[in-house]
């Protein structure tokens, strides 16, 4: 059953939260005395007004939300956030067209990091900060943030929470959602601060350090420079970012246990973490060796470039220190594979996630075993726990939808005149929330030349990829809207 009143009331409340985050942009504008102050305040006003009217108009009605409501709220709130998030761009004139502005906000909230901007350095700092803010909020999830930061809103509803929190295996740190959320938020903020300070020490300015750390910890990919991290040309910064990108790709619950509860062994015992580490190491070595022989970066330079790019793409961040679009074509394939695999579930990264890849691999391997031992009962184990067959088939379904979404993107992109390589990599990068693609839409390029339809569809892919398909696509199925 649906309870429209509750749904809209909650959306209204969530808009206040977006307004609260926009205050950050306003503060930056004030600090640097920029001309953007007025348009930002207008945007703020519009958002608050919209929120107020929703909350007052849909007063009363049910207090609790059903499971179905949860899915509607989560999907709608991401769309509504992105819609209102375009206001700062459009009112300040930074991004004049609505299509581009929506693409940029959706890319921000879904922590994709693809940008249609062509001259980032020319933008006011407050707008740059707002871009990073969308990443940072989107990294943990809008509802998640609300539950953690504003418990007084009373939104810590299980149905709402579980519609947004995705992943094949769920683990709670604490019996209460709000406490779990607060703990995760603690580690998130701690990582952001640690990353900022490290970047400052490595030689970045304070503003850039804050912006990049917000983008890194959310595994987003927006940079304050058009040339991404290559603009800094500093090995120290690259190593710091590689480290923090990698850490952000780890399951935050595990990270919390490892750091705050001093149980680092929990990390090393975790099958998914081991897979993550192994994939990252193997790809770095292969690509690194290939670069030593095919590029003029030198040994250290090749390995550093390989490590940075591999971690950046696997965690679906999308930073770049070199233009990998000019590497030998075989390496593109490896990069695409990384964009598909992704990092750990329960982290801020996107794509398939190592847990699913690892389970898929075991399911496949078991089929071979079953031929040799037809009567054997063979389990799929992750960190010693047996994965029930219902979860296995859910993961297979997920994979099918994932591939379907990739192909759909490829189809739409090519139908509107994008080259095969561009179209394919664009689709992989959008669904996986990576950001930069290959070919003409590599890490140093802008997505501005894309046709409008392709931009809209990419934005849709980002949204479904971020919410892991089911929450969004469920709304498109007739079964969901049936009364019973």
């Amino acid at each position: 059953m649906f309870h429209p009143k509750v749904i809209f009331r909650i959306l209204g409340m969530l808009l206040f939260i977006e307004a609260a985050f926009l205050l950050g942009g306003v503060a930056v504008s004030l600090y640097y005395g920029e001309a953007t102050l007025k348009p930002l305040l207008y945007s703020l006003g519009i958002i608050v007004l919209a929120g107020l009217s929703l909350v007052t108009f849909f007063k009363g009605g049910e207090r609790s939300i059903s499971r179905k409501d949860g899915y509607v709220v989560v999907t709608l709130c991401w769309v509504v956030f992105s819609l209102f998030g375009t206001l700062p761009y459009m009112l300040t004139g930074s991004i004049p067209t609505f299509t581009d502005a929506f693409f940029e906000t959706m890319s921000g909230f879904s922590t994709t990091g693809a940008t249609i901007l062509q001259d980032i350095e020319a933008l006011p700092k407050s707008i740059l900060f707002w871009r990073m803010m969308t990443h940072w909020v989107g990294g943990l999830g809008i509802v998640f943030f609300t539950v953690a930061v504003f418990p007084m809103f009373g939104l810590n509803d299980v149905n709402l929470f579980s519609a947004e929190s995705v992943g094949p295996i769920r683990s709670k740190l604490h019996p209460r959602i709000s406490v779990t959320a607060r703990w995760i938020l603690t580690i998130y903020i701690a990582l952001t601060i640690a990353c900022t300070v490290s970047l400052r020490i490595a030689g970045m300015g304070w503003f850039d350090a804050v912006c990049h750390s917000m983008s890194t910890i959310a595994t987003g990919g927006f940079s304050t420079k058009q040339a991404s991290i290559a603009a800094f040309d500093s090995p120290a910064i690259e190593y710091v970012l590689t480290f923090f990108m990698f850490v952000s790709g780890v399951n935050l619950s595990l990270l919390y246990l490892a750091i705050f509860k001093v149980r680092p062994m929990a990390l090393l015992r975790d099958t998914e973490f081991k897979t993550y580490l192994m994939v990252a190491a193997a790809f770095s070595v292969i690509i690194g060796v290939a670069l030593v022989f095919t590029s003029d970066l030198g040994v250290e330079g090749s390995l550093r470039a390989s490590l940075f790019q591999v971690v950046s793409l696997q965690t679906t961040t999308g930073f770049a220190t070199v233009n990998y679009a000019v590497w030998m074509p075989l390496l593109w394939l490896l990069l695409c594979a990384l964009m598909f695999i992704g990092a750990c579930s329960g982290s801020t990264s996107g794509a398939m996630k190592c847990a699913r890849i690892s389970i898929l691999y075991k399911v496949m391997w078991n089929e071979f075993k079953r031929i040799v031992h037809p009567n054997a009962v063979i389990p799929v184990r992750m960190t010693g726990r047996i994965i029930p067959s219902s979860v296995q088939s859910a993961i297979l379904a997920y994979t099918v939808i994932y591939i379907f979404m990739l192909v759909a993107g490829l189809f739409v992109n090519m139908a509107f005149g994008v080259d095969f390589l561009d179209a394919f990599s664009l689709s992989v990068a959008s669904v996986g929330n990576v950001g930069p693609a290959l070919g003409n839409y590599g890490p140093m390029d802008s997505f501005a030349p894309l046709p409008a339809v392709v931009k809209w569809f990419s934005a849709f892919q980002m949204l479904v990829g971020r919410l892991e398909f089911f929450a969004v696509l469920l709304l498109l199925t007739p079964v969901f809207w049936k009364r019973r």
Partner: protein, 445 residues
Amino acid sequence: MRIVIAGAGAVGTHLAKMLSAENENVVLLDESEEKLGKMETSFDLQTIVGDPTKISALNNAGVSGADLFVAVTPDESRNITACILAHYLGAAKTIARIDNYEYLLPKHKEYFSSLGVDSLIYPEQLAAEEIATSIKYSWVRQLLEFGNSALVMVGVKVRENASIINTPFKDLPHDIPYHIVAIQRGDETIIPRGNDCIIPNDIVCFMTTHENIPYIRQICGKEQFSEVKSIIIMGGSRIAVRTTKLIPDDIDVKIIESDLNRCHKLLELVDDEVMVINGDARDPELLRSEGIANTDVFIALSDNSETNILACLAAKRAGVCRAVSEIENIDYISMAEKMDIGSVINKKKLAASTIFQMMLKTDVSSVKCLTFIQAVVAEFPVHENDLITRKPVKSLGLPDGANIGGLIRNGVGVHVTGNTMIEPGDHVIFFCLERVLKKLEKYFR
């Protein structure tokens, strides 16, 4: 001695029969009238229908005056609860059967005694330990260790090729590094004298030290099979699970279990290296496709003794050189022995050894039951002024059916001759028939 046994399952009824045969006052308590069945009419004991975790039922069974309360229902939580209640109602000593390895850890022992649970028995764990030993020494029927392995008792079935057969004991050299404590010939148990000798197909119990085990193997004419690399276990019982935990990791283990639900449950209990196969292990086709010909050890642990015996016979025919089977039906053990199916595991006997230990008034370090003989091996610590220290061994007048296997002095195994004087601080290893055990008590006062 008044003994209350709660739970008339396999272990409970065995204990009740055994203890009533030893003229103890046994009360058997169970909530199922059906299970108690003909126990009262066929054996000299009392049965009471009631829930062992109810105070009224425990009072009915006369727990308040009991010397020993044994809780052996299938559910460990109920056993522990029953023991706590029995202790509260006045039972002198309590024993609970458990099914959780953690409870056995020494650090929890004090807590369980403070609850009123004096001793815990875990027959499945003991059985798994025996299986693990029998895999290590594949030519041995049973191997028991005493005093931190200072002395070991080895039971071996000798064949025509053994060098020690047909030699009277008095003609054996005097410096032999072993002592033969008993011989099982058919259904007869012989405590050897000078004129006796070993004939083929005897099971001989040697008492020796660890470093002489290879020597024993040699004189028995046994060859050491190559190291065990793969094992097939039939039946995913609790013993099977414990066994997989005890054997070395490099051994390849397959468990064949016919119930699919149990297979899924097993997967949660065993490690990833263990392969669980759903099927009937009596099916030769299945065994062949799972590579029975290349399997070193076949362990039959299903609930059914007959099935286990047959499966072991089939496995031996298929080329497995070593078989271990769980036989719960005690009458079958000697029969199985004649069929040469290898080592036999019996949960009831393992449980009984703990009960024997608790029944003795003197303290005893350990009592271990032999599967193929109705006999026990017990390790007694010797105190100042004990009767046993006053005379040399030959003048002690030990009862018939009892025999000193050796003693441990300062942690070292020592052979005992007629002239040996036992000193306080020693640990004496007695080999004796089950009914004789109680008579040994007086030597330790």
